[in-house]
Structures are given as structure tokens and as C-alpha cells.
Symmetry: C3
Subunit: 361 residues, 3 copies
């Protein structure tokens, strides 16, 4: 393992494809203490309603010492830290794999992120390449709270620089159930259906079942920029309308993570008793989202796993499809990995959910 | 009194008019802990400036243990909880009555809301009906902090379902002075004119007096959606521009509560020494507000009541008129219950205000 | 020194030029307690990333008891308080001088502002005049945290009122190094380059050096209005699109302070190890900024001062140029006090930055 890239060596215009090397490591700057202000903004920006994240007594009844910070808010801040060194000059954020939520985060915790280059492949056009990185985020106690891989298309600064030897990392297609972390203190049955509004638990979701969530959310420029700035994500494509006039779309793109958060908020009704995100197995931003687009969300239940040693809680594997500007009733079933012009998000992830007490006995 | 509607029985698309029955009770999901983040966002979203809600020493000098949360922020969060079961499929939010502010709310308090159907009347067109509900909000100690009645026009899912027997509730035209709650600890004279910027107190407002507040506030799509999401209000008409293309206006409507908050913020200058909202006697959203509209506020003093046992504080009954896209100097006097095309809000409410010490002696 | 203007004497439409008199003093209403919500909003509104203001362990390592509130957030709230009495009817905010940051502010502190008229000059057109004020902001302990002078063009209400004797205050062109405040507890070397992402310190910046910061930020109506409302700044020109139809631009203007904050956030990369703002020597909003404009930032190093008694920290004098809708590479060098149609901000300010330990020995 090589030594970390020293601070102060990053060029002002950021790293380009030819600057990356296999095994290169980055300690990303600007640690961040999460506050009650961040949590409130996350609700205002997304419409999130999971009571574990906004109602202290509900969190305590489920065994938490306080409201855990919304898993996706943690993800966006953790991810945002890596942009500075990884995707500042990104052409496209291609995918995620192996995202694991390892420990709850609370208001007052301070997070910082690290990354390592795990793969490189120049594109045949010679003007860009794909960088694969493994990243992890630690809290102020040095405890890992999140780890993930992603790959991103990064521009080359100079076409003349030689291509590196292509190396593609081995990325698991899913986070194995044995790698999911369930907090020892968690009391799944403590999550009160009167507080969540739903009674369905792990046992009630059938693989293959599809849920079209009824709400829709139109994204405004201010909304996605406020969110992306809150996460201290500096990727220029989200903020600079003047420069964006000359990009392929002629305008700013919405940070894909904002799309995930809006879809998750829209899908609260129907998945009320989710305890936590445990993993994101794979994910792609299948099409760009722009301000003015209205987002809708469909879920498909992919699978249901028991968790060894925890008869009180199960893992539910879900496919989140984010669609834009279309009535979901008119959206056909989308085959695995199928592209559809209205589908902007295709996310395969795993949540924790209580199992029926009767099943426990 | 019937048993509460069990959680998990709500259809994904929400309740329609024919689903309601007299006496039906709802315990609304998603309790909410109010934080310093919510209070800061409320200021940013509305421009609120009452120092009791944003300056700790000012609140303590008036007897409060800490800054009480702005009454309207409490109202919006409390109200937002009821949308899920009451107005998710609302065509229009028709009116409020008997809103009583029963106890201060502080940062850290957790609120949840309950409702009961108190009246039903199908519209003659057979495609919608009016639902009257009484609602109340409790804090984590089970103490009632807010109660109110409202009525809302809700779509029928099927025209063929039979109409219920019409039952109209008896709603008082005003909250009687004897029902206003004044915290025992309140020290009205402790509210420093140097902190509020105004010297007028209860004694100085004359019934019939009209105040045209000088500022104006243009509402943007992001502003009202951020506010409405912060309140976890899920009414679809505020968020979904794609679906709104087919509504009567062809666009999103601004949550009426946001209009109330903006008007209250605009009216700070002229009503600086208001201690608290005590009641909303009646209120209607007389016309819709859309993004791009600029709001202005006029107040008319309706009456002045002494409060038994509290010679140091009086109740002031006010009429808040919210107008849009018009110079107030050109807006005529609006008769009681009169409709005017530029008037979007007509709210009859009661505030607490200190009385002169000389009057006490 | 005359007695303060009594509260309650301000006309509803605010003060006009002919209402001001030399020596007049104002205690501005609405003190404000700064919360974690304000700090989070400031990040979301501007994209600020200085870790001293958002990472508790980083602040403590530099000697602070907790994260100090961002200097510009303090400035905007402090400044916002003065608008009510000074610039409510401002035609233009002409300039700042002698801004001194005197003590750190922390979450929980309550600020209030005072001003005194130090100069007056009617414009030759007889319809407006320039008011010069000295202002200061105190915390809840009565400690001065900020002081500054500014001058603002204010409309006359009546052309017929006589002009006052013109009096121009003596304003220093810079805040002398001897007047800069360095907290005794500050441990400049404690600011970790791994946390900030940069290694350059005071010794590394050369007078005359120019830095074109790479990012850009497009300003939306919601963004600047949210920020300006958060600061409880009530200047009407920022909020009222309906009235603005008849102003010189036909639209709302962005609060100049928002431009400063966005430029400062954009310039984080390149000035990572700034410890604090110590002073603003002079500043002008050279051209108006409107929603839709994209802001960019260039810095020029004006000078480098040693600080008596503190060999561990130096003062760096910087010129912040904010430009809009232009590629910085195409923006020429701007001479001192030169106007350029794309330059909206020209700010001469002084920051504190660690000196190399080797220089200390």
C-alpha cells in the first residue's frame, strides 16, 4: 500500500484521469461535525419522514441512545468529502457497489473520509477514463461508519498522456448477508406502528412484489444546490450554469445522491418500518436529472434474508427505481439492468426490518 | 367514541371522502422532535423576527425557561402530521376554527397529532365532499399543546358510493377569552422595547384601526416546498409540477400555512410586542397563492379583551389580510367575509400583549 | 454624544435621508441567538468548507473551546440588525471600512447591534444622500465582537427638506496591524493540513500573487432570499419582485453580503489555512448581482504583515474580486479601484494565518 497523497499537492483545477495510479491513497480534507441543523435541513430538502431520524422517543424505544442521523445524510456527507480528490473533474458518476453502513452516526459526531484507487481503465476515445475507488468514512473515535466502492468517468487533461494498464477490480454483485451490521442494542420490535403509520414487517414483503409509491417531487435548482452544498460536495457540474452552457446538456445536473434521497422520502409510505439501510449492493444513475424534473419512485422486492443470530430482524433486498416526468402507472416493468428513457435511478440495496415476534418464538 | 383507525389500514393512495365516518379517530404517524435546526430554517423561510423566538435572553426576561418555538412553526408541524390521514387527497383546505395554543413548545419537545371526524357533507356534484375534523397535538409528556378544527374538501374515489347523512359541527365563531391560555410564568412587562423595537402595547391598539405593513415577499417554488417538507406535510398539490399540469391551475399551489407565516413575518413591524398567539378564531385561504406571487399584509384590529386574573396582559383580536401582487395603498377596505381577487388570506386570530403597568396599578 | 433614538419612534416606512443627524445613535432591535441551525444553513447557502467552522475536533486542536461561528455569518447577522434603522430605504450600499472582528462567536451567543451617524452628505440631485454610520455588535456579556463603518445612499422622502451641512468622516484606508485582534488561546500550528487540504501558510503567499479560484456558483432567487432572511435583513430590494418592477433594474437585487460569502466559499481552495477574518479594510459592491448570475472569485495578495508579540501567526492582506458570467481566464488584471462591467465585488480584507514554525525559532 502506497503512502497517502500528501496534502497540498492537489492542483487547483483538481486531479485528472492521468494523475491517478493504482493503490494511490487519499485522506480527504474537511472533516465534518454533524449537527441538528444538518438533520433539519435534510428533512426540508427531501421530505424525509422516518421517525427514527426525527423523533427522539421513537429512536430510544428501538434501542438507540438518540436519533441516529439519516443513513443517506451520512452517505452524502461521507461521499461529498471524496469529490475533492476523486470526482471534481468527473464527466459522470457511473456506479456504486459494496456500500456498507457499519455503525450509526449521531448529532455531534465528526466524520472524515479516505479513498484508495482500486482500478483504472482509459476509454477508447483517449479523452477520459474510468477510476475505481474504495472509500471509507470514520468518526471521531476512528470507528468506521461507512465503506463503499464507486467508479467514475474522469476527464483527461491531455490526450497525449499514455494510458495506464487497465485494471478492473473484483466487485461483489451484492453485500453478503454475513457482512451486514446489526447494532447489538437494536430492539426492532420497539419501533411502534403507531409512530411509523405502517404495520408491514419483513415477513410481509414478497420477492417480486412491486410498489408504486404515490407521491411525486419536482426538483428546483435551489433545492439540489442547497443539498449538494450542505454535503460540501464541490463537483462543478451541479453549481455553475454559466460553464454548463457548454456541456453536453447545456445546463446543470442534479447530484445523483439528491435523487436517491428524494426517492427514498417518496417511498416512506409503503416501507414505513425500515430500521436502517444496511447496504447498497449496486446502483447507477441511469439518466441525468435536471431542475424542473418531477421524480417518482417504484420499489421491487428482490429478496428476503434471515440474519444469523438475530431472529428478531431480517434483511430485505430492494430495487429502487427513480423515474421522471411519467405516470408510474404507465411505466412498464423494467428488467434487471434495463435502460428506460424515463428511469434516472436504479439502486439495489438492503434494509433491516423487524420480523414478527411469532416468528421469533 | 369509536376506536382509532388501526395503523396500516390506510390505502397507499390515501383516504377519500367516502372513507370517512362521523366519530372516526386517527392517531397520525411520525412524531417529530423540534430542534434548533427547525427554528433556524423557519427564520430563513419566512423572515420571522420576533425576538422571543430567536433571542434567549429576551425570552428569559419574559419568564420563559428558553426561547419558545414560534407558534406558527408549531402549528405547521402539528397540522402537517394530520395531512397524511385528512387532506392527502384534498381539493381545497377550506377553513380553520377554534385553534387554541395551549402550552409553549421548546426545542427538544416531541409532538404528535390526533384527529376525529366531527362533520361530513357531500357536495352536490357527487365528486367530492367536505370533511370536518377536530385535531389536537400532544408533547412527549402527553400535554396538549394545540387543538383546532378545520374543514377540507376531499375528492371521492367513486361517484357511485352513497353520500353520508350530512352532519355539520357546531363551530364557535371565536375562541372565548376564558379559553385563552396564559402561561402562569409569563412576565409580560419583561419584554423589552429595546429588544422588540416597538413600544405599543395592548392599550395602544384601537378596534377598527388598520395597519398596512410596508414590506413585501415574493414566494419561490423552492421556498414553499422547503417549508412544506420541513413540516412533513405531504399534500401532493404543493410538490408535483408534472401532475399539477392537469389540475385546475396547471401548476403547484403554495401551502396556505406558508402564506400565513410570511404575512406574520411581514407584519412584525407594527405588532412588535406580541407575546404569543393565543387562538385562531377563523381563517380562510380566500384565493390560491402560486410561486412568483408577492405577498403583502394588512392588519385590522377587531377587538381588545381583558383577561380575568391577569391585569398585566390583554388579548388583542386581529384580522390578518394577506394580499398578492397589489400595492396595499390601492387595496380598498375589505368587509368581513368579503372576497377580493387579490386577497389570498383572511385570518381572524387573537394574540397576547402586555398592558401598561400604569393600568395595572 | 446624543441620547439613543427611543424605540417606537421609527416610522413604519423607515427612516429617510432627512431624518438622520450627526451623532444620532440607534440601538437596533431584535437580538439574535446563533444556533447550530444557523451554522448548517450557512453551509447549505454558501458551500462554506472551512473546517474550523464545521469540525469540532479541528477547532479544538487550534485552541478554540468549540467551533467558532463563521466570521461572515456573524457579520451578516450583525449587519442585518442595522438595516432596520440604517438601510431600509437604501438606494445602494456604497461601501465598508474599518471592519474589525474582535472576538470569536460561538453557538449559543446572543448578538445585538448599535450604530451612530458619523457623516452626512446630500446628493446634488436633492432626492437622496449618503449616510455614514459607525456600528458595533455586542454579545450577551456586553463584549464587542464586531465593529465597522459603512456608508449607504438613502432616499429622501421629500425633496423640499433642507440639506444638512455636509460632514464626511475620516475613515482609515486600512485597519492597522496593531488593531487586529488575535485570540490569546489561538494555536495556529494546531490547524492540521490533513484537515484543511492545504499546506500553504502565511510565509508562502507573495504580495502581488493572483489566484483564480476554479469553481463557480450560480445564484438563485431562493438562495439569496433564504440567506438574507436568515440574517433578518429586511432591506426591501431583495425580496419584493412586484415592487422591484419599477426600480432601475426591474428586478430584485442580491444582498451584497451573499456575494461576499459565495466568493469566500469559492476561494476556500487556495486559502485553506486561513484562521479567521481579522478585518475588512474597504469594500464596494461594484455592480449589482441578480438571480441567474454565476459568480467567480479571484484573489490578489496585497500584503503580508507580522503581528507584534505573535511570531506564530501573521496577517495577510487580500483583495477579493467577485466577477460574474465571465471566464476568469478572460478577465484582465483589475487595477486598484478600477471598475469593470463583470466585477461585482472588490473587497480589501485581512486574514490571520499560521507562520512556519521554523520562522518562529
Amino acid at each position: 500500500m502506497s503512502a497517502p497523497v500528501p496534502p497540498g499537492t492537489r492542483p487547483a483545477e483538481g486531479w485528472f484521469f492521468e494523475d491517478y495510479a493504482l493503490g494511490q491513497r487519499f485522506g480527504h480534507p474537511v472533516p465534518r461535525t454533524i449537527t441538528a441543523g444538518d438533520a433539519a435541513l435534510y428533512i426540508a430538502l427531501t421530505g424525509a419522514r422516518h421517525p427514527l431520524h426525527c423523533a427522539e422517543p421513537v429512536a430510544r424505544a428501538a434501542g438507540y441512545p438518540a436519533c441516529p442521523v439519516d443513513d443517506l445524510l451520512v452517505f452524502h456527507i461521507a461521499f461529498g468529502k471524496t469529490v475533492h480528490d476523486i470526482s471534481y473533474n468527473a464527466v459522470a458518476n457511473l456506479g456504486y457497489a459494496g456500500v456498507r453502513f457499519l455503525a450509526p452516526v449521531y448529532v455531534g459526531d465528526t466524520l472524515h473520509s479516505q479513498s484508495e484507487v482500486i482500478g483504472l481503465k482509459e476509454n477508447s476515445n483517449g479523452s477520459s477514463g474510468v477510476v475505481y475507488v474504495g472509500s471509507r468514512t470514520l468518526n471521531q473515535h476512528g470507528q468506521e461508519v461507512l465503506s463503499w466502492a464507486r467508479w467514475v468517468m474522469v476527464a483527461k487533461k491531455s490526450r497525449n498522456r499514455p494510458a495506464p494498464t487497465p485494471i478492473l477490480p473484483a466487485l461483489a454483485r451484492e453485500v453478503d448477508v454475513g457482512k451486514l451490521v446489526v447494532p447489538a442494542f437494536l430492539v426492532p420490535a420497539g419501533l411502534d406502528p403507531m409512530a411509523t403509520g405502517g404495520t408491514r414487517v419483513w415477513d410481509d414483503y414478497q420477492p417480486g412484489e412491486s410498489i408504486d409509491h404515490p407521491g411525486g417531487m419536482t426538483v428546483e435548482e435551489s433545492d439540489h444546490m442547497l443539498a449538494t452544498r450542505l454535503y460540501q460536495n464541490t463537483a462543478r457540474i451541479h453549481f455553475d450554469a454559466f460553464a454548463a452552457q457548454s456541456n453536453a446538456f447545456g445546463k446543470r445536473l442534479v447530484y445523483g445522491g439528491h435523487v436517491i434521497s428524494v426517492c427514498r422520502a417518496l417511498s416512506y409510505d409503503g416501507l414505513e418500518n425500515t430500521l436502517a439501510l444496511a447496504a447498497i449492493n449496486a446502483g447507477t444513475h441511469a439518466n441525468p436529472t435536471f431542475a424542473g424534473d418531477t421524480l417518482y419512485c417504484r420499489h421491487v422486492v428482490l429478496g428476503r434474508w434471515e440474519i444469523p443470530g438475530r431472529p428478531d430482524v431480517g434483511a430485505l433486498r430492494l430495487r429502487m427505481l427513480g423515474a421522471k416526468n411519467v405516470r408510474l402507472a404507465e411505466l412498464p416493468a423494467i428488467a434487471p439492468a434495463e435502460k428506460h428513457p424515463q428511469v434516472v435511478l436504479d439502486l439495489d440495496y438492503t434494509v433491516l426490518m423487524a420480523r414478527r415476534q411469532s416468528a421469533v418464538k
